[in-house]
Symmetry: C2
Subunit: 228 residues, 2 copies
């Protein structure tokens, strides 16, 4: 029995298909992502996902081995969307590799704050072993590679120090990931996850990892000057 007046998009039985609709799998995935956004990662229930899709609570098992498999699909879709948004941000940023690198980092944080529960599932312990889901591992790796490639480009123009790009990219990944985690967990001071605050925090962070916290060499302890 459906609970009450809940909007449920495109329910068209189409009796040519088996029972309810041809692509229950896609509907379940979509529903799970929507449910996570409103109820949080812990609030996600296989039974409610099934109910929202209009099927019995046992039906999902025909399409996903278990709850973890559904969560893996959710996580994979999250990484794909994150990559899309980072790529879009890089495009907007223009041709300067350093600008592109910073834009990607900011987009990383922006995605996490916009979809905190989704972000948690992408990285959290709900999926204990990512190697069981190769396509998820691939999608996750692609996100890291975007940062690595951006670093590579910066090294080519001489903006970033030399060294293995992936190794140099790790601190950059860590700092944007750390800021994202702290903000969505309510530790970093981003009141209400206000978009402008988050944006400027992310800008500060990417600048910090590029320039470092050290006093600019050659600058006197009391008078700081901008770089060239």
């Amino acid at each position: 029995v459906p609970p009450a007046g809940e909007r449920r998009p495109r329910r068209r039985p189409d009796p040519k298909q088996g029972y309810h609709h041809g692509n229950l799998k896609a509907a379940l995935l979509e529903g799970a992502i929507a449910l996570i956004a409103t109820r949080g990662a812990d609030g996600l229930t296989l039974r409610e996902v099934a109910q929202r899709a209009g099927v019995s609570h046992a039906a999902p098992y025909r399409h996903f081995k278990d709850k973890t498999a559904l969560l893996a699909a959710v996580a994979e879709e999250g990484f794909r969307e994150m990559c899309r948004e980072m790529a879009a941000a890089a495009t907007v940023a223009g041709a300067n590799p350093l600008d592109r690198f910073k834009a990607i980092g900011v987009a990383y944080v922006r995605f996490a704050v916009a979809h905190p529960s989704h972000f948690r599932i992408m990285f959290g312990p709900e999926i204990p072993d990512r190697s069981v889901f190769p396509s998820l591992a691939t999608a996750a790796w692609a996100a890291f590679e975007m940062l690595g490639d951006a670093i590579s480009d910066c090294q080519r123009t001489g903006a970033v120090r030399e060294g293995d790009p992936l190794r140099v990219a790790l601190p950059a990944w860590a700092i944007v990931h750390g800021l994202a985690a702290l903000v969505i967990d309510g530790q970093a001071p981003a009141a209400g996850h206000d978009a402008r605050t988050v944006e400027s925090l992310a800008q500060e962070i990417t600048t910090a990892i590029y320039q470092g916290l050290a006093r600019p060499s050659g600058a006197a302890p009391r008078s700081r000057k901008g770089r060239a």
Copy 2:
């Protein structure tokens, strides 16, 4: 009915006390931390904590309002232990503020990798609103303050650029937090959480946030030289 041969420390009924032992609350907290270490954050069950303490599954409610309250106590103890370890690391590092700052950052990562499930509960969404538990909020803040104070000291000696210490400390916090999260979630390349690998990764990270990723100004693009 206790399951089988499980070691259960110091069960001394002491009939002077109420029923089982005088400080069931402490026993529950201790048991919860132990259970998290072996079963993970998701595997923690109020009923099993009670069973291990030798009481009924309803008994914990006499000492903790609900499961979240127990988790908050677990998280608080985690922050205290982390602070202890960071303080110890700073002491070992000596008097140089920059060395102390790096040691604190490394200790932060080391704690997370040594107690991943505990670390997740300290920062995760299991405790939705930290402000409900003031002592937890205080303990968490103390950890951030240690980094902030270390940055302050570095600014006094001129090693770190000027500015609001807490604001300057945020990138440092983000980078160690991010590395910790990536490692325990199996994203960063620390095979098996090997202690030496983690240690050197943490060293690299703290160096990176101090020096920055920028090519050292004044160095030619092809020949890098050490700083003074």
